[in-house]
Symmetry: C2
């Protein structure tokens, strides 16, 4: 719920009066051609109206009718480790916050710090993704945009997360495995190839690419800036985050 301060109402009353009194005085002068009447009527009218406007504004302020919260969405970034999905997701999150929207960023690594016992088996990943979906849905229901960056390699888990949200935008960051492995920003592919990590997506475990999702962005072929512009352009075109 939003309320408006008294200062806002006073400033609106004053700015409206400047506009209103000049109009009234122009009409009075046009019909009477008398400057004294024009200024007397204009002056008294302005004084009375500024008080009335304030009272009118405060009364409307009690009424919620015609006020709408911006409809939020869950923006779910899925892709391989090293695909650039977190950089992209963070950029989208920053753009939403800059636009004055309530937004929350949920990152796979951070969520794992919150639920430290989560492993990497299919069942555990599935539960992890459902939990993230539940959390995202709860935030969305309360008017918060949620940007999720999670490998979420299984189509069924992503479907389950989608079902827990209202407006779900799945963005597949489709950077090819070879590019991700070459980048290997955290050295995880090297460790997985040496057998130090089990169930690593793309090495020992599969990544089920989305067959139909809202958007596909190849962050290997596009620059960071281009990838971000593509997502923001998509959101704008779909009316997501388009406030006024």
């Amino acid at each position: 719920m939003i309320y408006e301060t008294r200062f806002r109402s006073i400033a609106k009353a004053v700015s409206w009066r400047a506009l209103g009194s000049l109009t009234t005085m122009a009409f009075v002068y046009a019909f009477t051609r008398r400057l004294d009447v024009t200024f007397f009527v204009g002056g008294l009218d302005a004084l009375a109206k500024i008080l009335l406007y304030f009272a009118h504004e405060r009364t409307w302020n009690l009424l919620q009718w015609g006020r709408r919260p911006v409809e939020p969405a869950v923006l779910w970034f899925t892709g391989l480790s090293g695909s650039g999905k977190s950089t992209l997701a963070k950029g989208v999150y920053d753009a939403l916050v800059e636009g004055g929207l309530r937004a929350e960023y949920l990152d796979g690594d951070e969520l794992r710090r919150l639920f430290p016992d989560t492993g990497y088996s299919r069942a555990e990943r599935d539960r992890h993704v459902r939990r993230a979906g539940h959390l995202a849905g709860m935030l969305e229901k309360n008017g918060v945009f949620v940007v999720v960056s999670l490998i979420s390699p299984y189509a069924a888990s992503r479907r389950a997360a989608r079902a827990l949200c209202r407006r779900f935008v799945e963005v597949h960051v489709s950077t090819p495995l070879a590019v991700c492995e070459k980048r290997d920003p955290k050295g995880l592919y090297a460790r997985a190839r040496r057998g130090e990590l089990a169930d690593f997506t793309g090495v020992q475990a599969p990544y089920e690419a989305p067959e139909s999702c809202e958007l596909v962005v190849d962050a290997g072929a596009l620059s960071e800036k281009e990838a971000l512009a593509r997502v923001l352009g998509y959101l704008r075109a779909r009316g997501v985050a388009a406030a006024s």
Copy 2:
């Protein structure tokens, strides 16, 4: 972020005009004593102003200055099983929602369904309470009131949860153990006494009553309605949830 519909602006323009035109016409008549001038000025003025008011309203609508979201809070209900804390917490949650506020209800049992592996040892309870605190803090940061109903028997865990939130109101539902055990709505005390449940708070595990918390409500001595009135009265007095 909140935006206002065009219909709201039109309705405000019309209601303001009814007020404004009558005032202007009264002044014009008082100074000129001519009904024809009064109605000409009043009529043209009203027409011009209703359009100007709409434009003025839409312009202000683009400005966020002077608009404040209501500051939310985390209302944390702690107490023994069967103390009546969930009934009370649910009542407070309903009152917040009825007041037009964004609110979320987090219940111990429901959270355990989301994290099904959580046990009842001190370490596991501690992690459970911290997780709930983290979740509550995330919602609160995004403008949502959070009502938590959780036994949360250890003072240290409650302190940790408090540190994760901004405005934390700890409500100790202090119904005595003997009363809770007599009520035993889920038959849990009976099972714990028979040894079928381990680590049950109040039977095998301790409940560390808060030494200094924001509010203490004995839901054994008070009726449901009285207990609810006490909490809502406290919140009102502290300016929590007092909007407009």
